[in-house]
């Protein structure tokens, strides 16, 4: 039906903002370090200590902005904001430790005293230096628990509570910057500029995490409508509210959900919409794992108030660059894929990967959506190393299933392993990077 294809909006233009963001980041960094460059010339080690300190402080503020959930970050960076946040966290720790090491060593060389005495002298001789030490220790702990190895062993709830301590780093670290920082201690450009940086970062945080969610929740007043079992382990929660048609959410995006039931209200969880927003209800589909999701089915009575923050994510149909799409879902990764199928152009191909048939959800919905959208759905069932699935997900197998894969946008959502493996396969098939859209289960 050519007429329907013509009515589709043209592919979105993606990543036009990435250059702008890069320019903002680098010029901000240059201005942050410039006062040192034009300041006094001191010994080399102390100079290195100052540069690394300025870089660390700047990237820390960028870190705050990246997770502030302000609209530009959510729209332009989307999921990659979190990936950048994780990678830059390691950079902050490295810069901070280098700052501490260079400064103390530099002073020790100047004073011709052993390092141990120098540490004491620095801690007692300067204002706010003890709190700066605590900030460094907290920073190391927060970033260490966010690395893959440790993160995998912690529940989301516990990790989140530890990660909240990152705000302490900001609080405890800023004192020594303004009291002792050679560039910041006196009035002038450097001090004014760094004040602006702090105001921007904290303002973004307040705007994105407080003002916007409060306004949105007051406007829409979301409530649980009903809970539906999709499979023995998977439930769908339907949520209604006021003026849902005005909600700016798109299929493929997620909200952070806070259900106001006893014992649950204090934690919020990111879940993707499992159907495109339609003006009547929103739906999330959740697998019952973890501390939180188990409570969910029992506690979620109809009428229960829900507070959300979002919408977030750039796993949306307007990111496509082609007129056709391939969707790859693994496990509950089907949620955003199922929603996207409604908003993507017709003739999409869905590959739905699961270990067992019992884990498959939305069979009927996928069936009628496929009919309505001229799409085809391929179920790939079995353990990862079974011959069938491993062939289907290999470059050769994928090409057999979808011969024109290189001409399609590919949306992949699922567990880490599946997303990474599919990404590799797509690269081997020479699918251009801008056509690959990944959504991982990790926060």
């Amino acid at each position: 039906m050519p007429s329907r294809r013509v009515s589709q909006p043209p592919p979105g233009r993606i990543r036009t903002h990435s250059i702008a963001l890069a320019v903002v980041f680098w010029s901000g960094l240059a201005l942050a370090v410039a006062p040192w460059w034009y300041g006094d010339a001191g010994p080399v080690l102390i100079g290195a200590g100052r540069v690394t300190g300025l870089v660390g402080g700047y990237v820390l503020l960028v870190q705050i902005t990246l997770v502030s959930r302000i609209p530009p970050v959510e729209r332009w960076l989307g999921g990659s904001a979190l990936a950048w946040h994780r990678d830059l966290g390691i950079v902050v720790v490295a810069a901070t430790l280098a700052h501490v090491g260079f400064t103390v060593t530099g002073y020790a060389v100047l004073d011709r005293t052993p390092l141990v005495f120098e540490v004491r002298s620095v801690l007692t001789g300067y204002t706010a230096m003890v709190s700066a030490l605590v900030a460094t220790l907290v920073l190391v702990a927060v970033v260490a628990t966010a690395t893959h190895a440790v993160r995998a062993r912690l529940s989301y709830e516990r990790w989140y509570r530890i990660h909240l301590a990152a705000y302490l780093v900001l609080l405890l670290g800023y004192g020594h910057q303004f009291a002792d920082g050679r560039e910041l201690e006196r009035p002038g450009f450097a001090r004014a500029y760094w004040c602006v940086l702090y105001v921007l970062a904290l303002g973004s945080l307040a705007w994105g995490r407080l003002v916007r969610p409060v306004r949105m929740n007051l406007r829409h007043r979301l409530r649980v409508d009903r809970v539906v079992d999709e499979s023995p382990q998977i439930v769908s929660v339907y949520v209604t509210g006021r003026r849902l048609a005005d909600l700016s959410a798109k299929a493929g995006q997620f909200f952070r959900w806070r259900f106001l039931a006893r014992g649950m209200w204090w934690q919020s969880h990111p879940f993707s919409l499992s159907a495109a927003p339609n003006g009547d209800w929103l739906r999330v589909t959740v697998k019952v794992v973890g501390d939180h999701t188990e409570d969910m089915c029992e506690m979620l009575r109809p009428g229960l108030p829900v507070i959300v923050s979002g919408p977030s994510g750039d796993f949306t149909a307007d990111r496509r660059t082609r007129f056709r799409a391939l969707l790859v879902a693994g496990g509950t990764g089907i949620s955003p894929i199922r929603a996207l199928l409604e908003e993507l152009p017709p003739r999409a191909v869905v590959i739905y990967r699961a270990s067992r048939w019992q884990d498959i959800v939305f069979r009927e919905e996928l069936h009628w959506l496929a009919l309505a959208r001229e799409a085809s759905v391929v179920y790939v069932i079995g353990p990862r190393d079974a011959p069938g699935p491993s062939h289907a997900m290999s470059p050769v197998g994928l090409r057999e299933l979808v011969p024109d894969v290189r001409l399609r946008d590919v949306y992949v959502c699922g567990p880490d392993g599946l997303v990474a493996a599919t990404d590799r396969t797509l690269r081997e098939l020479k699918v251009p990077r801008r056509q690959i859209h990944l959504d991982r289960f990790e926060f």
Binding site: D40, G42, P43, V51, A95, L110, D111
Partner: protein, 146 residues
């Protein structure tokens, strides 16, 4: 993870390059002629010390708790050491100065000027220290050597 490693590498290389470039920044030659010498650098600017290796003793500065006097060492036109010849002693002064003087010395050498901020709890000593240091630096700029 790859990006994090690249980031660390970038910070390391950037720091090395910046610090190396800064160390090679041309230090303006000592201003020739009496006109320039008549106007010594203001307190905020880095002092342009004459080349050579020498020491200069600063004047005695008074504080409510006692007197402060410094001697600066210059090598190759750079301030390399500050020795406190006289400091307020007795009671809390000794204790406060043990803490404050190393910090002040370090700040002075790092800044290459007398523009150093006061150590908290040792405001008077800090002020006198900066005063004696500034005077010693001015004297050095004017060619006084000991």
């Amino acid at each position: 993870m790859r990006r994090a490693l690249l980031g660390i590498l970038g910070v390391a290389m950037g720091t090395v390059l910046l610090v190396a470039a800064k160390a090679r920044q041309p230090v303006p030659a000592p201003a020739p002629g009496p006109a320039a010498l008549a106007m010594p650098a203001g307190p905020a600017a880095t002092v342009r010390l004459p080349a050579g290796t020498y020491t200069v003793t600063g004047p005695v500065e008074r504080t409510p708790h006692g007197v402060v006097q410094l001697r600066i060492s210059v090598a190759g036109g750079r301030l390399v050491d500050v020795v406190a010849l006289r400091l307020p002693v007795g009671g809390r002064s000794t204790e406060v100065n043990q803490r404050a003087v190393p910090v002040l010395r370090r700040e002075a050498i790092a800044a290459q000027s007398a523009h150093i901020h006061a150590v908290s709890g040792a405001t008077n000593t800090s002020r006198a220290y900066a005063g004696s240091l500034q005077a010693a630096l001015d004297a050095a700029v004017h060619g006084a050597r000991h």
